[in-house]
Amino acid sequence: MPDDKKPLITPWRVILAIIFAAGLYATYLRFAVGWSAATNMSDAQPWGIWVGLATLCGVGLSAGGFATAAAVYLLGMERYRPICRTAIIIAFLGYGSVCVGYAYELGLPWRFWHPVVYWNRHSVLFEVCWCIIMYTTVLAIEFSPALVEKLPWKSLREWYLHWHHRIVIAFVLAGVLLSSLHQSFLGGLFIITKGKEYPLWYSTHLTTLFYLSAIPAGLAMIVIALYLSVRSLNVKIDPEILRELSAVLVPLLAIFAIFRGVDLAHEGGLGYLFRWRSETGYFWLEMALFVFIPIVLLNLERIRNSPVALYWTSAIVVMGFIANRINVSITGLERATHAGYTPKWSELAITVMLMTCAVLAFRYAVLYLDILPRSLAEKRAKWLANAGVVANA
């Protein structure tokens, strides 16, 4: 709980104030002055980091939500039930901020409902859009008990939780399918850029590549959130869980790396691996951060046994993931379109503000809702729910 004795002005609050002041001013620029004032986007680079960072990474890093829900609900891995809500709320906040981000990204945001009415089923973006709408709904339903539990009306609470418990599995199943499709389609958006996308990133299997990279990145994100919650939000979880999660990362990253290599050979990108060009550098940076460094680190006993080291390793994975998405959506298109794009401060300010909102929401959710167990004893009774019977037996 927040400490009443804390001073009103702390360094963190000052930083927050700066982030929001900058973000709100950038918002004013975007909506009242115009695109050119708020962004460096141009005809050559029409998407920029709002798509590259906010959308592609926001959604990608939420992938832990469906992976964990699947592990717990569908595969019966009860050990992970305590972190299930964390994963789901991260996903919900991730998707939520992506949805808010669209208000900035779309040229005519007040027409956000058009895709519901005007359909083009040949468009990958159409599928992406529908998956976002449906999966955000699913996440809200999956997450709702955490809020309903806190309602003062007992009978409503019990009635809701009773029904929720019965039908949630259908939503989990739908959620796993929807987000799998959705993660893949974000890559699928770029399949049509054949000839524009640099060969190190173009592939007709961008769907699979995006899917395979989103899962480890999503898990890394959960490791980060869990570590931070334990450290500063007075949350107690079995440290072994962090260790196990990061152990899963290694094979997942390796699978991605192998698929990426085979795919590059298949699509004829191998010849570009060592050319003296800026793209080559970005490519190897991405591979180092997302694949090589984490795999080496996670094979060291010392790293695996230290939560803080696992936290930093996960952070490297997340950075590698961001590098990959930015490479696909920005770096890879620059050469063909002669864009020379670097984001304007206001583009970054808005993205940072939206991310900060998500982090703050996460913090307050952990503090005021039962997202994570606050003591190890509480764990058994409360967090194992119906399956507690099995675990206790």
Binding site: G34, L74, L108, H122, V124
Partner: protein, 254 residues
């Protein structure tokens, strides 16, 4: 012969670089300003110099347009007359069409608070009334010709056959899966800044292959997951039953 599907044929050898097409286009679409060096939200066409030749730039009006397949609300559509037209009342401003077009033709009104996509519409309003495009009408040398698509292809072929100084290639006949704007030239197209077509098949087909997998993924994935869930439940029931049995045996022993 009144052929329904129209097209443009641009003979680079005949273009004198007078910019009449560009001026006429601006007038017909109420676009401001003087001739511009590049396509922009106020220049649907432009005349550039490459290797000493005058090259018109404009939308190719692909037979299977990448832009239209990308547009999630169907604001861009290939009409039966040939033009790829834009319905500004549907557009939400996602700009995916700009990413998708292999020639980066669609431009955006970045300076406006209510911005729309801008590109050559092959004068669709004139074409449906049986008139030629403004640029073709204005061209003093016949370098830009308007006509039925098949008829223009035949004409282009005839010129290539009769004069061997032409590069024996009609740009647009097969590029991007075929287009409604054709170029013929006496200098290789690679040297004139033309996009080398990235694929034999129209680009939207690449996407369709990926989208076509959706029903399979949903069906197979769905039943797989449901099966896994069933197994999990079954295991749990067995474990519960065993636990209960163990407990009752314990009681008996006591």
């Amino acid at each position: 012969m009144a052929e329904n599907k129209k097209a443009l044929l641009i003979d680079i050898t005949k273009c004198i670089g007078c910019h009449s097409c560009e001026v006429a286009c601006k007038a017909a679409h109420e676009l401001p300003g003087d001739p511009e060096p590049n396509l922009s939200e106020t220049a649907f066409t432009t005349v550039q110099e490459h290797a000493g030749k005058n090259i018109r730039r404009l939308c190719m009006h692909c037979e299977e347009p990448a832009c239209a397949s990308a547009c999630l609300v169907g604001a861009l559509k290939k009409t039966s007359y040939g033009p790829v037209a834009y319905d500004k009342t549907k557009c939400i401003g996602c700009r995916y069409c700009m990413i998708a077009c292999p020639n980066s033709v669609p431009k955006y009104e970045w300076s406006k608070l209510v911005p729309y996509v801008k590109k050559c519409d092959m004068c669709v309003n004139r074409v449906v009334q049986g008139q030629p495009t403004a640029c073709a009408e204005a061209c003093p040398t016949g370098a830009t010709m308007f006509g039925g698509r098949d008829q223009l292809l035949r004409e282009a072929r005839r010129r290539l056959d009769n004069d061997s100084s032409y590069v024996q290639h009609i740009y647009g006949e097969r590029e991007f899966g075929g287009t409604s704007v054709f170029f013929i030239s006496d200098v290789p197209f690679e040297n004139l800044g033309f996009t080398v077509a990235p694929a034999e098949e129209p680009l939207p087909q690449l996407t369709q292959a990926a989208l076509g997998e959706v029903p399979t993924v949903v069906l197979v994935g769905g039943s797989l997951l449901a099966g896994l869930y069933w197994i999990t439940q079954r295991r749990r029931e067995v474990a519960l039953a065993e636990a209960a049995e163990k407990a009752s045996r314990k009681e008996e022993r006591n």
